[in-house]
Structure formats: C-alpha cells, structure tokens
C-alpha cells in the first residue's frame, strides 16, 4: 500500500443551518484499498460522500488529493480529479442500450458523428476485464436485472478512468447472487489499484471486501478498524455508540479521579 493516500480528508466540517452534519471528520483512502464507510442513519455518510463528490463544498477542513490540498466545490471538480461516484439510484437511461449508457455524455466521435463501433468495442473490453457478464452490450437497460444494472452503473463510472470510486449502498436492493457479483466487482476494482469508498449497512458485505472500516456516528469519527482482527460486534458497538455507556463512563471517571 502506498504511503501517500490518494484521497484524504483532514478535519472536515459541514453545517446545514442549525445542523452540524459533520464535525472534524478524517478519512484516508489509498490506491488499491477498499474503505467501508458505515454508520447509522443520519450519521453523516451521505453528506461526507457528497462533500467528496463536490455536491456540498466543505465549510472547514482540507481535502487532500495525492498529498496536495485541493478545492472541490463542484461535481466537475471531483470528476476532474478522478473521483467517480455511483449513487444509490443508478440514474441509467432505460431506453438506451448498455453502450449508450456507458458513454452517455462523453460519446466517442468519428468525423463528427457517433463512433458506435469503437464505443461498442471498448465497452466489451471494459466489461470483459471486469468479468461482467451481461447478455449483450446492445440491449436496452430495461431488459437487465437489478444486479446487472448495478454493475453497468459501476462500469460507467470507470469509463472516465478515475482513481477513486465511491459506491453508495451498491448492494442495498440486490439478491444473494447479485450481491456476490457486485462484491466480486469491488474486489476487481481493488486489483486495478483503485481506491474504493463503499457505503453499506450490511456487515457481511463490509467484512467480505473491505480493508478498513470507518465508523461515523452523529457526524464524527467513531473509530477506524482494520477488517482483519476486528469483530462485527466491535464495529456495531462503534456504530450504535454502545461504547458510550454507564460502564465506560464510570471507568473514565475513575481513571480521572485516580490522577
């Protein structure tokens, strides 16, 4: 793993009116690392992702890209750096085929008109290297299953050759086999030395593919765990705040009193 993280957040804060959505949050993503971002509803996962993706500019703190501080104020800034985001609602066009969706907004041209052959060839190459199996790249998205749509959406994020991919709940609505497909794909992204930020509620998914788990609780960091050597209970305790109970408080008070 490289020493300098591709993407690092240092002390990021974000406020919406009276709500302090994020307070002093740190996050590091290295090339070839899958970082799972977990937390309860309202913990600030989505807000954090949106600050990285440039939807909400940060109020305080620094975003570092390959060690240099950068400003991410618009979605285009994030895309320009090499950050691709796959949102929960996949936003694919049902009436266009797979190739049309993969290249939507950045079509390849030949003599000013669409170069369907080159787009089809590259789509097939991309899907093959990711071992994505879909019936054909020329069928409309409407004919694909939920899992196939999810992998197409992820593949679409890779067309721009990003360095960090953010996946927002990629397995939320999927069955067993389809979840397995998506998780396989996440591992393949890691093999390609991409940094992956994976938002998930599913502990099994997280422990299956993630290298590091970042826990957010009420807009603050509540622990960073390497997946190896951490139990699900420890992570869940951090998510729910079970570490903050009567027993731990008494311990802390006694420790202070002992000083």
């Amino acid at each position: 793993m490289s020493a300098t993280p591709v993407l690092a957040l240092r002390g990021v804060s974000k406020r919406f009116g009276a709500v302090q959505a994020l307070t002093d949050v740190d996050l590091e993503v290295h090339a070839g690392e899958v970082v799972a971002l977990v937390g309860d509803n309202g913990a600030g996962k989505s807000t954090l992702v949106k600050t990285i993706a440039g939807v909400h500019p940060v109020d305080d703190g620094v975003i570092e890209w390959e060690g240099r501080p950068v400003h991410v104020n618009r979605p285009q800034d994030a895309q320009g750096l090499g950050i691709a985001t796959v949102y929960q609602d996949l936003a694919l066009c049902d009436n266009l085929d797979v190739v049309g969706n993969l290249y939507l907004g950045r079509e390849l041209l030949r003599f000013g008109s669409l170069d369907e052959v080159a787009m089809e060839q590259r789509s097939r190459d991309l899907l093959n290297t990711l071992s994505i199996r879909i019936p054909s790249v020329r069928i409309p998205i409407a004919s694909l299953s939920g899992g196939q749509r999810q992998v197409v959406a992820i593949a679409r994020a890779l067309i721009g050759d990003p360095k960090v991919v953010i996946l927002d709940e990629p397995t939320a609505a999927l069955g067993v086999e389809q979840t397995a497909q998506v998780l396989d794909l996440v591992e393949r992204l890691r093999e390609r030395r991409l940094g992956v930020i994976l938002i998930s509620h599913n502990m099994a998914d997280v422990t299956a593919v993630a290298d590091t788990v970042h826990v957010l609780r009420l807009g603050r960091n509540n622990g960073v765990f390497p997946v190896k050597g951490t139990t699900n209970e420890q992570i869940i305790a951090a998510i729910t705040g079970a570490t903050d109970n009567a027993v731990t408080r008494r311990l802390a008070r006694n420790a202070e009193a002992a000083k």
Binding site: Q76, Y87, D89, A91, L92, C93, D94, N95, L96, G100, N101, L104, G105, R106, E107, L108, L109, G112, S113, L114, V117, A118, E120, Q121, R122, R124, D125, L126, N128, T129, S131, R133, I134, P135, S136, R138, I139, P140, A142, S143, L158, I159, G160, D161, R188, E191, R192, R193
Partner: protein, 427 residues
C-alpha cells in the same frame, strides 16, 4: 478525449478469460430464413411491433379504398397522396422530436398558419425578397418554439399548457396579420413554386424518380457494407451479408415501384423530395450525433441525463425550437398547396393529423422511443384515408370521425405494446 477514456489493463498479465462473443443466455438468431421467422415471432410476442402495425394498416386501407373505387391505386392519385402528405409531414417531423422527450407541442398547427401569413405579409405587403422571407419565416417558427421551450424548461410550466396557450395566441396573431383582407395571394415563384403542385423533380423527367431510388438504395448498401467491415475488423457482432442484401432488396423494391408508379403520370413532386431529404437529415441527427443521443437520454431519464452532464434545459428549448421551425416550414408547404395565406390555415384537424401521423408511425407518446420515419409511415396512412374519403365524396364530418378513430387506435397500440414490452422486460 480518446486518451482519457482508454481502459487500463489489469495489473496482472493474466490473459482475459475467453469470454464467448455472445452470452449463452442471449437468444441468438438461427441461420437462414427460418431464423428470421423465429426471431420475428419472438419479437411479436415481446411487444416489439416496430413498423408492423402501420404497414398492415396501410395494406388494409389501400385494399378497402381500391375495392370501393378503382382509381385509388392509380398513378395520379398516388402522386396526389405523395404531394399532399409533405406539408403535414413536416409538422409531424417536428412533433417526433418533441414526442421523443415525452412531451407534446399543441401549437404546431397554429404556428404553421402564422408562418404562412408572415411569409405572405413579408413578400406581398412589404415586397421582400422571396428567399429572405423564407429564412425569416422559419426563424419566426424557431423563435416561437424556443419561446415555448423557455417557459417549459426554465419556468417549469407543463409543455401541454404552454403550447396550448401558444395554440390560441399564434392563431390570434395570424388573424391580426390578415386583418382586413382575410387572405393574401402568394405569387407562384421561388420556393413556393417548388412546393406547389406544378413542380416536379427534374421537370418530370422519367429518370428523376429512378435516380432518387438508386441514390437511396446505394446509400443503404454502401453504408451497411462499410459498417459491417468496420465491425468485423473491431471484432464486434455485425450484420450478416444475407441480412444486408435482404434489407437492400426490400428498399429497392419499394423505392423502384414507387418511382415507377409516380412516373406513370406526373413524376415525383418536389415537395415530397424536400420531405424525404428532411427525413434523412433528421434521422442522421437523431441516431448518429451526440445531440440526438442527448434527446433520447432526456426522454429516457431526466435525472440520468443531468448526471451525465447533459444540459437538460438547453435540450428541451432547442427541441421545441426545432418543432417550431418544422411547423413554420410545414406552413410554407401547406401555403404552397394553394398559393394563399388564409384565416383557415392551420385550423381544423391539422394538429390532430400531425400528432396522429407521428404516433401511428410508431413514435411513443411516453418518450424515448421512436424515429423520424414514423412521420413518413404515419402520413402515408393519414393521407391515404383523407384522399380515399375525398375520392368517395365523404363528408368532412365522416373524415373527422374516422381520423379520430385511427388516432385512438394508434395510441392504443402504443400503450398496449408498451405494456407487453414491460412484462417481457423491454420497457
């Protein structure tokens, strides 16, 4: 752009798994003509009707009218149909663009009427140069369309309401322009002559029709073969030569028979040639340019289009501008049929006919599905009915009822095939 989109190879140099060119789950067409037949049956079941209902309808309509009056399929009547369908057909082309967005433009007929009176006012009352007046008239239509589009895209008023207001407003403006006289006679010269009934391709030369037919067939054949060669080289699935030949032969039969029939009396009306040229250009724009792809994307999913960086408002405004431009152009075609701009221009069932043509031809009312050729196929049906009923001296009341029924039938086919497509996973 090209180097940004190159795909990085996996780090480990393991050769990519031998993925079959076609997934085994995909239904592959069998070889030969039996394969065509089975695939055809499967498509029918899946609700992918394509142009089939309209072709069946056309055959039925032609048979009925031919039985009722044996002049119907005569060359002179076919020239009539091909001439009169061009004007409304231009309106229909513009509507196809709007329908692809899943919207509707109810103002096209009154914009076409306004265009005729604008053109007449400019040339007759102000003595403006013919061609300059044509350009100004089309620009008027484009501006009106952009105006509708602005209220729809930027203010958020439903397109239905904006264009309904336009429908009334532009009719009023037309009446204001023609106040006093009530009609203006346009001189039979310049572009309006070419759009008139006495103007034929290559001055009625027998060769004219065959040259057009050959051009069309050659373009299809060469285009398909070049595409096949490129696909073969890029190792992506390509159309087998037998299929290319079959398509070319089908087009050749249709176009040479059409040329032969039209040549037997007067020849190819220039209005039809312009209509066909507009169809070819619009088909290219919709299927082969980024702009066309964006229209389909916005019609499919607005959110997806926006996330892909498409300026949705701009697409909407320009599409309505295109619709307005074609409405104005169609207005000139319709004015060329009588060489007058009258208060009646753009009234009656013109709007319904234009919408019906686009929908009958197979462009969905629900957005994202269709092509401009539906304007041609739909107009063939509509104009055949109109001309046939005229031939039988049917009252206009009957014509209205029959056209209404045909429009309803087309929308029913659209809705039902959409439902079947959804249940077989192709919505």
């Amino acid at each position: 752009m090209s180097d940004k989109t190159t795909i990085r190879k996996p780090v480990d140099e393991v050769p990519p798994p031998a993925v079959a060119t076609v997934d085994p789950r995909l239904l592959v067409r069998e070889e030969g003509f039996k394969g065509y037949l089975t695939e055809f049956k499967r498509k029918l079941k899946g609700g992918e009707l394509g142009s089939l209902p309209v072709i069946v309808a056309l055959i039925i309509i032609w048979t009925i009218f031919q039985v009722k009056d044996d002049l119907f399929l005569s060359s002179a009547n076919m020239v009539n149909i091909s001439f009169f369908m061009a004007g409304t057909g231009m309106l229909s082309i513009g509507l196809v663009f709007v329908l692809l967005l899943g919207e509707i433009d109810l103002s096209v007929a009154s914009v076409s009427g306004l265009a005729a009176s604008v053109f007449a006012t400019l040339t007759v009352n102000h003595g403006l140069n013919d061609w300059l007046a044509v350009v100004l008239t089309i620009l008027t239509g484009v501006a009106i369309g952009a105006f509708h589009g602005f209220f729809f895209a930027k203010i958020g008023v439903p397109a239905f309401v904006v264009t309904l207001a336009g429908f009334l407003g532009w009719t009023g403006l037309m009446q204001w322009l023609l106040r006093g006289t009530g009609s203006l006679t346009i001189e039979d010269k310049g572009l309006l002559h070419m759009l008139g009934q006495r103007s034929f391709f290559m001055d009625q030369s027998i060769a004219g029709g065959y040259i057009l037919a050959t051009l069309g067939v050659a373009l299809l054949l060469i285009g398909s073969l070049i595409d096949q060669a490129r696909r073969r080289k890029a190792r992506v699935p390509f159309r087998p030569t037998s299929e290319i030949l079959l398509r070319t032969v089908a087009l050749a039969v249709v176009s040479y028979v059409a040329a032969y029939v039209l040549n037997k009396s007067a020849g190819i009306p220039n209005a039809l040639v312009f209509f066909l040229a507009a169809l070819v250009i619009c088909d290219f724009v919709l299927r082969r340019t980024t702009y066309g792809r964006k229209i389909f994307a916005v019609g499919g999913s607005i959110e997806a289009a926006r996330r892909a960086g498409i300026n949705v408002a701009l697409i909407r405004i320009t599409v309505f501008a295109i619709s307005g431009g074609f409405a104005a152009l169609g207005g000139l075609f319709l004015a060329g049929q009588t060489y007058t701009a009258t208060l009646q221009a753009g009234t009656g069932n013109l709007l319904m006919l234009a919408i019906a043509a686009a929908v009958i031809g197979g462009t969905s009312l629900f957005g994202g599905r269709g092509n401009v050729w539906s304007a041609l196929l739909g107009m063939l049906v509509i104009q055949s009915i109109q001309t046939g009923l005229d031939l039988l001296n049917m009252d206009q009341s009957i014509q209205y009822m029959i056209t209404g029924a045909v429009l309803l039938a087309a929308v029913v086919v659209d809705s039902v095939s959409r439902r079947t497509q959804r249940s077989s996973g192709r919505a």
